[in-house]
Subunit: 267 residues, 3 copies
């Protein structure tokens, strides 16, 4: 049995033992799914967005997830307030630039958050990462995925400018940070047909960052578990509807053997 | 094998091939389901509501869906802005008058949208269509369904006044427009027990309108596919919980044979 | 066969026969689930939050559910307006203090609602009930559960001060009101791994309160049905993903025998 260089299983066990609180300011479309994914993995999700309670709510969290999927002005204010509280407490911040590149409002909001919120990990698909970086990447809505040399160059550039680890999802997932690049080959072709699995990857990255201090490792562990759970679910699913349910079950049922036998990583 | 007068299968293939972007401003309750239904069918859902990005977001869409299920002032502004952008680009607009008749706020908002947004297709249940038309239809919340001569008269009246095709869901679905009336007899009695399947019908109508220029045909194709997927799902489901998942799977797995053998339409 | 002291089955039949409209102002995370649970049970869910339509919408409802899971100022205004309309019509109000104790904003909002909305039934977990009461209960996010003598004391105190029945969910559910305490031992250990099943309990309590005039009995019937449906679902589920679907199916399929053979109550 190969040794997992990411220590993924140890991290899963730590999440199950500690049940870290992950505070999410995320989009309406995926709130339920990402809360369920966090619960199934063993973490404690909190969803709140009121400016009035941001500092206190972040005060009980071990990680903060910010997702710009369904933006509005009030929510952006709360994202910045939550990030300030998270940075004061030195807990990790995960930023998902959903749909960056689709509108200047999104791209502008992400860049402001990169500067102001100083996220630990930026997690998106290739076109979102490129749009965030400033390349003139074309994006087709929020579900476009196309890992490429351009996206990796954008990730390295974002890492240098903002100090963030960058996690790029796609057929192969790339984690770029601290001079390292990790490639993960897990996952299943039906996963992009379920809405919000990218957002779920971001939420789970929050849970792993809560127990794994190295952000590159935490981001890689999350993408490995996403991919493994997707493969386990695809063996039982007849379509994206049942895939989503079996995916949640797989997060709950995943064993050391599942991780060891399935993980395909180049670290 | 009877020939499908709606050319439904060709439209499904066109959606799968083109993956048209359907931009939805819809209610909180159903966002996840309708995004998943669009993805399973083969379309590309986008959900956004910020006034600041409406014009740009509609700029990458092939159809616009407006659903008033959970209204508020800011969202109504965005609905009008999105409709203006859609009309400027001549892409179809589908309006779902959820709960029209239940409160004067809803009925008034729908009528303003009918006038200002000039929707291509109005899709609702019988009581919503009657309330939109101005008949003193009683509505019991948002799940009332009762197709009738009154609803058909309302549909004809709305078509004459606003030029919109009207799609009325119920045990029999009626599509009324351009002097034609199409009746669709597909579907299953358990479908009204799943929240938001009406909203899903509206979303799928957006996908079909993106590939089928004739709005009467597009609306009918969508209702046929809804009904067929519902029948396929009901054969596997033990209740409305599992029905919803198998419904999504059925949209993903549907074949030419499924359509040809199951479709029951009077065109 | 033991006689059910709660008359739970008769209440289920009444809901299926009357399909009472339950108006919910609830959080974004659970809207879809709670609407589906109400529909599966046989009730008619309405979800709306605009201040402009609160009075009219409450006017067609048989119960009002207020859930503070994802708060903001506008929504709090609508909660108070809806409660005023509900009290004017003398329909029951169910209040869920989600996350009370986690932030002073939540705790303060719940206390204002207790005073202003005068809920018929307050339904939460032990830490939320204690935080609402004013004990210095520590809460770990919104999923903490710990029934105890302290929670029961808080429930009695809240009952005396505000006249509300208090329903405390946990491994054993406690219903406290009018000098009575009912204990319910149904349920399954996997249920807390599904997000929003507490919120679903609150929504179903609204449906039972719409058909059962005694609030203590209504709250107990709801918790018994929750627990029984959870047990039925757990026999088919492989994890929290499939549990949620089978739970909805169980609400839809539940028979008199299921209730009679499974109910475990101390009244």
């Amino acid at each position: 049995m190969p040794i997992d260089p990411l220590h993924t299983w140890e991290a899963v066990e730590a999440i199950r033992a500690k049940a870290p609180v992950v505070h999410s300011i995320t989009n309406y479309v995926v709130m339920n799914n990402t809360a369920n994914a966090l619960l199934a993995l063993g973490a404690s999700p909190v969803m709140a967005h009121a400016r009035e309670e941001m500092t206190e709510m972040v005060g009980i969290a071990s990680a903060l997830v910010i997702n710009i999927g369904t933006l509005s002005e009030k929510w952006i204010e709360s994202m910045h307030a939550a990030a300030e509280a998270a940075n004061a407490r030195r807990i990790p911040i995960i930023l998902d630039p959903v749909g960056a590149g689709a509108t200047s409002y999104r791209t502008g909001t992400v860049r402001e958050l990169l500067k102001g919120a100083r996220p630990t990990i930026l997690r998106g698909n290739a076109s979102e990462i490129m749009a965030t970086c400033g390349d003139l990447a074309q994006t087709k809505g929020v579900d476009s995925t196309e890992a490429s040399h351009d996206a990796l160059a954008a990730a390295h550039s974002l890492g240098k400018s903002y100090g963030a680890t960058v996690s790029i999802s796609g057929e192969t997932d790339y984690i770029v940070g601290g001079g390292r690049t990790i490639r993960i080959h897990n996952g299943h072709a039906m996963m992009p047909r379920v809405t919000g699995l990218g957002c779920t990857a971001t939420a789970l990255t929050g849970a792993f960052a809560a127990v794994t201090p190295d952000p590159v490792l935490a981001a890689a562990q999350a993408m490995a578990v996403m991919g493994i759970a997707g493969e386990m679910a695809a063996e039982k699913a007849e379509g994206p509807g049942t895939l989503q349910l079996h995916f949640i079950d797989a997060l709950y049922r995943m064993t050391a053997d599942d991780v060891q036998h399935r993980i395909r990583v180049e670290a």
